[in-house]
Amino acid sequence: MTTVLKVEGLKKSYGSKEALKGVDFEVQEGEIFALIGPNGAGKTTTLRIVSTLLSISAGKVTFLGHDVKKEPDKVREKISYLPEEAGAYRNLKGIDYLRFMANFYSETSGQADDFVKRASRIADLGLALNDKVGTYSKGMTRKLLLGRALMTRPTLAILDEPTSGLDVINSLEVREIIKTYAKEGISVLLSSHNMLEIEFLSDRVALIDKGKILDSGTSQELKDKYQAANLEVVFRSALR
């Protein structure tokens, strides 16, 4: 297995506030790695740093051998980030938004067409793709954005609360899509509050709280270790 992402001693401070206090984990090729933790634990900060959005206060993040701090442009070519509360350009039609995003990653217009077709399949919005994004519901926008995030088959998809705002049916569909793409070799780094979702999706889990990884392993390993029936109990036990 190839290590796609390596996070070592990652620290991040906002002024005097320390958001991350030394985070370490690795993500392997084709693996779904999940960060779970309460609000303010440092999940989103970690994902934003890996996505090249935030600077690093201390430590090192390496993606396919590229230092995220020193070579952010090379990292951006191969990653895709879906923020928790992401939106799309309201004045653009769904299909135009996908085309706009595809153009950043494609070498030819044929390749961009392929990306858009794949995104359309993932989003599954039908004729609504020809409507302006401003008319979409939250669920439709989320599916459009998921299509955008996966259309280029990134080496690493960074998904912050991927099913946030979706109803049960849509959430199930999205989870299936993520699982399918991971099987095809895409690595996924995701965060979620939903323990059931994490258990269903992830190959490995890291429990994070107050800027520190408390524990990590497969769901089964963690459940065995803490003698818990599910990840919610695991998390509660780890916090103690």
Binding site: S51, T52, L53, Y81, A86, G87, Y89, N91, N103, L145
Partner: protein
């Protein structure tokens, strides 16, 4: 380049939306409508106008005065009332704007060199320019009659000396000197003509800078509000390209909007000013004094305007980062608005060179002051002042772009916020 073009096209598409198109079309239509209405009113005012005249004198002089009114394009409606009060009441009921009452004994009194009052009534049925113009024409006719009468008297008393020499023994011959050129003419007429020719320039400049800056600030604020900025910052395109694309799109749409605005403004001003044009004599004097822009002058002015626009856009980019959402973006326009309005207002009322040193320094420190001063300096051949302004703006722009690029290349683009309530910048 393909990625930059992709982003630029998106930015332009975002800016040219239905709201913008409708507002620009409405602006042109409204300005044209006002201009055309004003033009029609002016034409009406210049056309034959009704005036009620009550001649209680019936002398040759009163008839001469009426003839003067006719030649000034007035159509006389003789009042048949017996007393002035009744004449005023009757005129008030009618559609005339003016009433002239010539009292009995007017002609005889003037012949005896006694000052006799004639009474005029102006019925202000509206406050339009046309109404004001009518009473001005009447005054001019009376003044011409006064002149005619006094000239006749002087001619009869001192036949050997022309009347105008008797009335104005001192005559002035006016020369205007600009640098090493001199021409005969009135300084106020020349200033007026140069001003009327360059009156649009500050308006265009103010419009472009404010409009384009507003677009950049709003574009960045909307990216934040709609949560699209984070995604955009993770796509494989240099951050400087993101900044440049936003600025270029705003500049292009700003220029386009300003051009459309000016079409409307031209129609508006054309209507307001009507056919009022400076005489050919003043035009020739202006040319003789070199107070026209040469090709070099136009190039320098264009460069100055362009750099001012770039300074505005770069400042707007930084201010846009401070905005949390579209609403807060509106208040962040304030610094740019003030920096544009101060030199804009000063360009109408004050000469920067005559200001106290501290105030002058302050004005010159504002980058937008320089294009406002440039046209005047170019015409007066103060090229060093123009070049200094261009150099200053280039340096200012360079610093602003460097700062904007630095902000966009770090996480400050996401974390910088101006909190009005707490009055502090969070970095």
């Amino acid at each position: 380049m393909k990625r930059f073009t992709n982003l630029l096209v998106k930015e332009i598409r975002e800016l040219i939306n239905k709201q913008l198109i409708i507002s620009l079309v409405m602006l042109v239509v409204i300005f044209s409508f006002i201009g055309q209405t004003a033009k029609t009113e002016m034409k009406k005012a210049a056309a034959t106008q009704k005036i009620s005249v009550m001649d209680q004198d019936g002398s040759e002089l009163s008839k001469g005065l009426a003839a003067g009114l006719k030649s000034a394009n007035f159509s006389i409606e003789w009042s048949g009332e017996k007393d002035p009060e009744a004449a005023v009441r009757a005129a008030k009921k009618g559609d005339t704007y003016l009433l002239l009452i010539i009292p009995p004994g007017f002609g005889d009194a003037v012949a005896r060199f006694e000052r006799k009052e004639i009474t005029t009534y102006t019925f202000l049925r509206s406050f339009s320019l046309g109404g004001i113009r009518k009473s001005e024409v009447l005054k001019a006719v009376i003044a011409a009659t006064n002149n005619y009468l006094s000239n006749n008297v002087l001619k009869s008393k001192v036949p050997d000396v022309p009347a105008d020499i008797l009335k104005s023994p001192i005559k002035t011959k006016d020369y205007v000197i600009v640098k090493d050129r001199m021409a005969e003419g009135s300084a106020s007429a020349i200033s007026g003509m140069v001003y009327s020719q360059s009156v649009f320039l500050p308006i265009i400049l103010m419009m472009i800078i404010m409009y384009s800056s507003q677009m950049v600030i709003s574009a960045i604020a909307l990216e934040k509000q709609n949560k699209t900025l984070e995604t955009l910052l993770t796509v494989p395109i240099p951050r400087t390209s993101i900044v440049t694309a936003k600025m270029a799109a705003a500049a292009l749409v700003g220029l386009l909007s300003a051009a459309i605005y000016m079409i409307g403004m031209r129609s508006f001003m054309g209507g307001m000013m009507g056919d009022l044009k400076a005489g050919a004599g003043v035009d020739a004097v202006v040319k003789q004094l070199g107070l026209t822009l040469t090709t070099r002058g136009y190039l320098l002015l264009g460069l100055s305007l362009f750099l001012a626009l770039l300074c505005g856009l770069a400042m707007a980019t930084i201010l846009g980062v401070l905005a949390e959402d579209f609403r807060s973006a509106q208040s962040l326009m304030l610094p740019i608005m003030l920096m544009v309005l101060v030199p804009y207002m000063l360009s109408f009322f004050a000469d920067v060179n005559n200001l106290p040193p501290a105030a002058k320094l302050l004005i010159l420190a504002i980058p937008f002051s320089h294009p406002f001063l440039a046209s005047q300096n170019i015409m007066l051949e103060n090229y060093s002042a123009v070049m200094y302004g261009i150099l200053y703006m280039a340096v200012f722009f360079g610093i602003m772009v460097f700062m904007a690029a630095r902000i966009f290349s770090t996480d400050r683009v996401l974390t910088m916020k101006l909190r009005w309530g707490k009055k502090k910048v969070v970095l």
